[in-house]
Amino acid sequence: MKFDDETTDVLIGGYLSTDAAQDDYKAVLASGGYLHGAVVVSKDLQGNLSVEQTDHMVREGAAGLGAVGFAVGLFAPPLLAATAVGAAIGAGAGALLHHRTASKLEEQAGTTIPVGGAGLIVAYPHSAAGKVEPAVTRAIQKVVGEAEGHHVQALKGALADAQQKMTESGA
């Protein structure tokens, strides 16, 4: 199945630990579902960034996720729904959404992944959703965006859709 023949899905997962993101990344790769690409980005407690991505990313070249920019609003778990004193506090997710540009993956991830956090992005044809999505079990926050269209445009559209959903669910 070709990349531009059908609806493209992009799944974004947010994590509080690198281990959890790696668990889901490996589970996605082992899911048997066709992937356009997958990338996991994490930042350790010293602030060092690390990126791991599938070979698909390399093969897809300009269509790879890195080229369309790393999703922001990636890490916005619905924490602080209440304090001990009971005040409702929004998580303020997606504050950096407008930063979405076509800049390099590392640059964007460097500003959007918090210390100690991690994110996962997986792109796949919609027909593979039944295998890919259930493999992502540890994400604190998980959204799936979708878009139809051609190649990079479809990926961008799905990513934007996912980001929007992330913003809405994280607030």
Binding site: Y15, L16, S17, T18, D19, A20, L45, Q46, G47, P77, L79, L80, A81, A82, T83, A84, V85, G86, A87, I89, A91, G92, A95, P114, V115, G116, T137, R138, I140
Partner: protein
Amino acid sequence: MSEPDRTKLPIRRPPFQGVSNKTLAGSEPDWNLIGHPEPPAGAPNVLLVLIDDAGFGNAGTFGGPINTPTYTRMAEGGLRYNRFHVTALCSPTRAALLTGRNNHAVGFGSVGEFSSGFPGYTATVPRDCTPWPRVLAENGYSTAAFGKWHLTPDGQQGPAGPFGRWPNGWGFDYFYGFLGGDAGQWDPCLAENQKIIGTPAGFYDKENPYYLPDAMADKTIEWLHGVRGQDARKPFFVYFSTGCSHAPHHVAPEWADKYKGQFDQGWDRLREEVFARQKELGVIPADAELTPRDEAFPAWDEVPEKLKAYYARQMEVYAGYSENADYNVGRVIDAIDELGELDNTLIIWIWGDNGASMEGTITGSFNEMTMQNGIPLSDEMQLQLAERFGGIGAWGGQMMDPHYSAAWAWAGNTPFQWGKQVGSHLGGTRNPMVVHWPARITEGGALRSQFTHAIDVGPTILDIAGIPAAAEVDGIAQEPFHGVSFADSLDDAGAPEHRTQQYFETMGNRAMYKDGWWLAIKTPRIPWVITPDALRPYAPGVWDPDGDPAELYYLPDDFTQAHDLAADHPGTVAELRELFWAEAEKYKVLPLLATLSAFFGILPPRPDEVPVEYRGDVQNIMSGMIPRIYNHSYAISADLVVPAGGAEGVIVAEADHLGGFSLWVQDGKLTHTYSMMGVFIYRQQADEPLPAGEVNVRMEFAADAAKPATGGEVTLYINDRPVGKGRMDHTVPIRFSAYAGMDIGRDNGGVVDLSYEDKKPFAFTGTVKKVVFDVKPHLSVDDEEELHAAAHHGDAAHGLSQ
């Protein structure tokens, strides 16, 4: 010399019995003048051991899963007491234990962190209720306390004191430990006598790190040897109060790993196992019934499979931590034995001060302070945060401040219902006690079931020592003890039960015991839930305490409180309810829920918002005494001298990577790191290096709004010029740390930013002349009042978790 009057303390100096002439010619000295009071002949040494936050069913000695060979050795050579009672909260039990009086009557209806304007809740022991360690000291005992204190008000834990409520003021010649409700066992912020000495240097030793339980035993033995080196006969009193097994649950893996796999069966099955062993041991009656699980606790079978290892490790660490406490108490006992004084040392060892703690909520936490700051985290989130700091294999290590699930606590309180904070039921009010004293106890290994309470311990010790209760101390008439001696039960299994009635009250949960009947009135609130919705039913004018459901148990027939007889005995319910109100008035329990008064708008006056200045290298400011920057806009300004070659290091830092802030210099650049309880970690850095010479640096936080945990913008300045900025979406609403202190010019103990951990304490290489905190008021008076209320809610919430 005639027997002195020991009822008025200090004991008066005897009149001069010699002769003083104009010259030495014919003069005769009276050597009694330079003596000191001695206790009555035969007064034994006393070792009082108190384990923290443990339940009736934890120690193996009472059927629990935790290996406690020392405790068992003491029990086999002494006595097990299976109907000993406490108050369901830390400070209150300690106050009752060390004053011999009901906790509310001495100002400890709640914890030391929470002082209220009602007599039963001041956290300030009145002068007419002198603690009995002072009585022992004045009567010739050498006295020392080691470990957890938790009886000094939060705002009095600095060099300005006052010191009357520090351990020395309670009658201890020597103190080594921590003043608050808990401490890291790896990185405590310690006090020695009347000085905060901070985190021990051994914390920085990677090969052989400091560990408080080991150090407590070391210090105790050192002190005993010192006393004996000076005086071979003077009796000693040691109060050995472990930080274990309160959170943070810190212990080396080799202790926790002893229990690998031993809790995989879960808390439901564990309770059944413990219950069976308790019957085999005979520490509960053969006809006792195991109480069922309340729906507030999940069934183990409902825990997702992928999370069971996470939960099981929590209990493995707790068990190893507790066994280590037994080991270190054993070292002290062995040292006494090595001195040849074990036979003449009365050892009273209480395993738990309030039942096991349910404050970890259902999930448990990688950081005990997440609960107190109201951060709702699911168990998956907690697991991931644990992974962030090393994984469940590191649970118990230096990188986390963990607390286990409330459900493990419930299992630890087998066979009873509930636990800590629930003063209405035995899970929070009954703990094991062992008494060992070969000189008098001849029936080693026997069981005693007299109804006893923490307030009875002091009167018992004084009774055994032959020392009367003080009627007057420092010229102040003393309130008589509320406790009574149970000394006759040491050598008489049939000794009468002296305590025939006792009230209990903690957080509105209350009980009245009389002649075997126990009236239990628990507020329906789940103990670890303090949300507005949960508290609303208890607001002034809304709550009718007599409308709370009442349960009635007859303990001689129902050891575990398994059968509620309230419906069958309404007259007894009414009688005990009336008696409770009378006792509550008598002992200053009223108003009920004074501990939560801040939640209902009853607040102390607002403090002045003046800048706070620290000059030089002030260190180890206790966490409850740092400037109240929470929920406000604020600025931290520092006057520095930077050498020509540049400088690095910490300018000011509070607490550690699990909650705190640091203003520091990295590669010559001003940097600010803020850890929101280890969940969110923010860092901002200047774009340019610091210049040499006299420099003013400043960090400003502009809060988004006057609300708890507000986000806001950070701006860094050098000589009033902005040089960097960043955003913090969430800030700490209540308290960074239960124990870690603030330092000027360095970051003692655990560090805030782990990127400089290998340089800790990372002292500033230039000069910090002055650091100023300016907590900026919000625009409206209403905002200020709201935040003031929030701050005191925080105090109360902290109190709920200690």
